[in-house]
Amino acid sequence: MLKYLYILLPLVLFAQSPAFGEDSAQPSPAPTTQNADDVVDSDSEHAKALFSDNVINIVYLIAAILFIRGIKGLTHPRTAVRGNLLAATGMLLAVVFTLGAGGLSYGVIFAGLIVGGGIGAYKAVKVEMTEMPEMVALFNGFGGVASVFVAGAAMIYETVSVSGSIATAASGLIGAVTLTGSLVAYAKLQGLKWVPDGAIIPAQRFVNVLLVILSVALTWWLVTSAGQGAASPFIAYWLIVIVAGLLGILLTTPIGGADMPVVIALLNSYSGLAACATGFVISNSVLIIAGSLVGASGLILCGIMCKAMNRSLPNVIFGTMGPTADTPDADEVYKTVKSSSPEEVAILFDSAQKAVIVPGYGLAVSQAQHAVRDLSNLLESRGCHVDFAVHPVAGRMPGHMNVLLAEANIDYDRLREMDDINPELEQYDVALVIGANDVVNPVARTDPNSPIAGMPIIDVDKCRTVVVVKRSLSPGFAGIPNPLFAADNTLMMFGDGKKAILELISAIKEG
């Protein structure tokens, strides 16, 4: 990290020097002496500029570099902690130097920083790892609403241009959609009962289109009326925010639970794009750069999630999923299900050389990650090699299972990706599926008419024996029966994930 500061520090010093300022369009220190009467008044309550605009812009450049290096650090678990610290340093530098911009009264700023910092730190320390999707959803919304307020405030004092007004409308629009969409996503992830699934008003899609048209019209009103001293651009702006807020709610409510990873990734992307639009409003390069990095990140994750479900983004957002007419009857499929006891399964593990554990959302729900770690350690100590196979859409956000298993101290080398482990699964003696359903349903491979046809799955049915820990035979999100549960080489262990694993551990120890 120091390396970058060494290179860029001389640049900052140079930028502070008068020589650099001559080229600049706005040499900032000069005006203080010119219209002394006007300036002295405001200067007596507001701080003088500590840094010239050039210095601040160079610091923004450094912050942007630190963000890029920071994300690059996340490409490997070894360098990831350092990467996150680099990005945080970039944020700190950008904010501290902005405070030295001059003409600012600090009271309100520090009050906001203390309140926000306190709440943020408290949430970060307290949150359970199983609740990460909720927290990220909520924080996406906060990023969006911050953009709404910044663009709204900038309207009051920034000089007006056509492009600036369009950017203002975009900030309000994207920010408000992000806010209300994220709040709905948060409520759904929390499992709040009053949040409806499916359409909440008649002809919802038609209303959505109307709202989009309405916000475009309002944007037009904002742009054409801006800068004429009337109240209309402000009215237009806050109407855009209200309309977009409604749109965010209506777009998110119909999307079901298992599609949440896609929704959160998309809202993540929006929160970045909102920051980006705000960057255009206040002509600030670091907002544009940081915002577009986040926008790109969310979009990429969205694409990965959609690919892992073999669905297109529009299909996830607007489509419906469920059993089709020719879905086989569950009773028929489940005729040959074999229910098993922990003792029986323990015998199976006694002779196993290689086992693979496939975690699903059910593992998170029953907080079974620590029990699973104990099981894996126990099996390892008895000479059985244990790997974990993680499907990209297991859990409620991208990478959710990996974080839970890492929390339980499971070596990250043992967390294998679907594409990586699938060709080797035939060599595994036992597959232990915990609280997963659709992501191990072989129908995706065999039945071209099923709703999940073509979705990449973890091919556990190719392992010698499959043990499925599940509360009941109820279908997953796709709403279709899973023939894996009734396969010749499958044993079902019915029960809560954590309880079942603990029973299995004691059965192995006794056996």
Binding site: T75, G117, A153, G291, S297, P398, H400
Partner: protein, 90 residues
């Protein structure tokens, strides 16, 4: 900053984003989300400028923006740090 400079920066940053983020392994996708979420708290810079600007309307909006953006940035970086510290190799 002219509009065209802004657009240039925007497009180049999107390209850099795509280049580096496609290399992030699935294991780290959750920290990537919470970390990039924290980075989107960069709106804080604009929020600080608004909250410090004279005039009560912009100060009220600015205050709210500073609160939300700071929650986003501080909470995001801290929880990402907490998560990443868990990824260990034995």
């Amino acid at each position: 900053m002219t509009l065209i400079t802004g657009i240039t920066i925007f497009v180049l940053a999107i390209f850099i984003g795509f280049e580096i983020i496609t290399k992030v392994p699935p294991t780290l996708h959750t920290p990537l989300m919470s970390g990039s979420n924290a980075i989107s708290g960069i709106t804080l810079v604009g929020a600080v400028l608004a909250a410090g600007h004279p005039g009560w309307q912009s100060q009220v909006l600015g205050f709210l923006a500073v609160v939300f953006a700071t929650i986003n940035a501080v909470g995001g970086f801290m929880v990402t740090h907490r998560m990443l510290s868990m990824f260990k190799r034995k």
